[in-house]
């Protein structure tokens, strides 16, 4: 019996980084609240992931193999995980807040009629119970979440809410679990995943990044940012709205749907700091933010901040750096 069940996601035949962070969070919360932790691996690579998970300090590692789980589908995964949750009846089920989790975990919530607290950033402990917090209103506010009723609570953690480096090693017993899943339950036929633009810019290894957001205003202003980047030898990156507008190709995008970066300098021009962008760049060593909105959430993680108009500052900065 475990109190917290962490559900793993497969990434290239190993445990997804954000699942590792969820294990780390579960260990920490488990210790503080006196709750035991178990891990669930499922899908084609379940045994590989379960073997990797068994080196961590948890009670038990469960694995589910079923031919209808070999390719990911929301139909199959939600049905299988819901069955395991019902059988094991943990107090909490933890996930990393990945794209796949967004896709199928709400289905489990509806099946079990139990709440899904998603994109959680932190917790506090009240007696022996964790209280979870998530960001809201464009990441400008934090909300304390409260749940009621009996049964499991589903929780997904935002990227870097917990560090995978803090995972406690140990040993865990292994158990194979069966689910009842018929092929007729899968009403979706997935094709092979593919990459749209091979090549592109590898922002993840860039030392210096100049990044532009919605504040750039129009396509005609892009060259101004390009010049600034060129002067200091930086790569040009952007937040999602710039790519959505077709002003830069998608391989320039930083954030949950783009690349994750950690340069020495991240100079953010006109980027407000939606959480989907922040998760892709908050590991940068020095974050310099220029934005005309003093409430832009990106200022929260800035080392240096300028409240001002990028259209005035950008060309002058380029000039000053040239000389």
């Amino acid at each position: 019996m475990m109190n917290i069940l962490v559900v793993l996601e497969n990434k290239n035949s190993s445990i997804h980084r954000m699942s590792l962070e969820a294990i780390s969070g579960a260990q920490q919360i488990g210790k503080e609240c006196g709750l035991s932790v178990g891990i669930l691996a499922l899908g084609e690579k379940a045994s590989v992931l379960a073997a990797e998970a068994s080196q961590y300090s948890v009670e038990e590692v469960l694995s589910v193999e079923n031919e209808n789980l070999n390719s990911y589908t929301a139909d199959g995964y939600s049905a299988a995980v819901a069955q395991v949750i019902s059988a094991e009846n943990p107090n909490y089920v933890f996930f990393g807040h990945t794209y796949q989790i967004r896709d199928y975990v709400p289905r489990i919530s509806a099946k079990l009629k139990r709440p899904f607290l998603n994109d959680v950033v932190s917790y506090t402990v009240d007696g022996d119970k964790p209280i979870f917090y998530k960001q809201s209103f464009n990441s400008k506010l934090v909300s304390e979440l409260q749940t009621s009723g009996d049964g499991p609570v589903l929780v997904s953690f935002q990227s870097a809410a917990y560090s995978a480096e803090n995972i406690q090693s140990g040993t865990a017993s292994a158990r194979s679990v069966n689910v009842d899943l018929d092929a007729s339950a899968i009403k979706v036929t997935p094709e092979e995943p593919f990459q749209e633009e091979a090549g592109g810019v590898d922002l993840s290894s860039a030392d210096l990044i100049v990044s532009i957001g919605r504040g750039i205003g129009k396509e005609e202003n892009i060259p101004l940012a390009q010049e600034l980047a060129k002067v200091i030898g930086a790569e040009l990156a952007s937040s999602r709205p710039v790519v959505d507008s077709g002003w830069l190709p998608s391989h320039h995008q930083v954030g949950s749907s783009g690349q994750t970066v950690a340069p020495k300098l991240y100079l953010a021009l006109g980027i407000s700091g939606a959480i989907q962008h922040v998760v892709g760049m908050k590991g940068s060593k020095n974050i310099v933010v220029i934005n005309k909105d003093p409430d832009a959430p990106l200022f929260e993680i800035a080392d240096y901040g300028v409240v001002g108009d990028i259209h005035e500052i950008m060309p002058r900065l380029t000039e000053a750096l040239q000389s």
Binding site: A74, L141, E144, V188, L208, P241, V307
Partner: protein, 256 residues
């Protein structure tokens, strides 16, 4: 083809938020309100599917107080055929399951082939409503949808995976799709659209009458984001700012 689009009205992205005295909600007075960004793309996708099919019924469902009428009219002006307004007064429900069950009761009477929603709202940010409704109505579901192709009795959708990967999947109809922003170019309402929108039907239903009493999740308290980092603010005239930035690059971060 009958298409339901979930459209939400949210405070504008550059708004300053103040929390009310008991921390239960934001102070709404004076805030600008607008259509949620990914919902704009969901609505456009519905209109384009209707145009490609040559016929269809696109109806919008919106949950919120009276101020949402403006957003509903905007959706009608862009080309939605009709709307259902689920009226809710403050304090607003923040339980995704309850919200989805109310939508489900309204939508099930309509029996749509497709439910399109934006990926997530910029205010509450749950990103669950479309998927919950799909499950509750026994539909297939997909999120992060960046392209759609209607086929015979099926729909083929392109989903965005992480780090620049994509995947197509073919789904049985009816389906509920959560639409990622950027997949199309949303139209502006035409003058004719704005005029005809005034005559289009908006049916009103009450949230309180439809909600079940078993609310399991809520916002207990809202607060301003705690600052994680010490930020050095650089101030002055444009020249002074530029001078100080160059100094930071040279002497603090040492990149030049």
């Amino acid at each position: 083809m009958k298409i339901c689009v979930l459209v939400k009205q949210i405070p504008g992205s550059e708004a300053t938020f103040n929390v009310n005295t008991d921390g239960s909600w934001i102070q709404e007075s004076g805030l600008p309100f607008e259509m949620n960004e990914s919902d704009i793309y969901a609505l456009e996708e519905a209109l384009q599917i209707r145009e490609k099919m040559g016929e269809g019924d696109v109806f919008v469902v919106t949950l919120g107080p009276d101020r949402c009428q403006k957003t509903i009219r905007e959706a009608l002006a862009k080309g939605a055929d009709r709307a259902i307004h689920i009226k809710e007064e403050a304090p607003y429900c923040t339980d995704p399951l309850t919200i989805a069950s109310v939508f489900t009761q309204v939508i099930s009477e309509e029996n749509p082939d497709l439910v399109l929603s934006g990926l997530q709202s910029d205010d509450l940010g749950f990103g669950q409503t479309g998927v919950l409704i799909g499950e509750m109505l026994g539909m297939t579901t997909a999120t992060l949808v960046v392209a759609t192709e209607i086929q015979d009795g099926d729909i083929r959708v392109k989903r965005e995976l992480e780090a620049g990967w994509f995947q197509w999947q073919t789904m049985k109809l009816p389906a509920s799709l959560a639409i990622q922003s950027g997949l199309n170019t949303p139209r502006y309402p035409s003058l004719k659209g704005i005029m005809t929108a005034k005559k289009k039907e908006i049916r009103t239903v009450s949230f309180d009458e439809l909600k079940n009493v078993n609310i399991q999740q809520s916002f207990k308290k809202l607060s301003v984001q705690r600052k994680e980092k010490q930020t050095e603010m650089i101030e002055g005239s444009v020249d002074e700012i530029v001078g100080k930035l160059v100094n930071v690059f040279k002497n603090e971060i040492r990149i030049i």
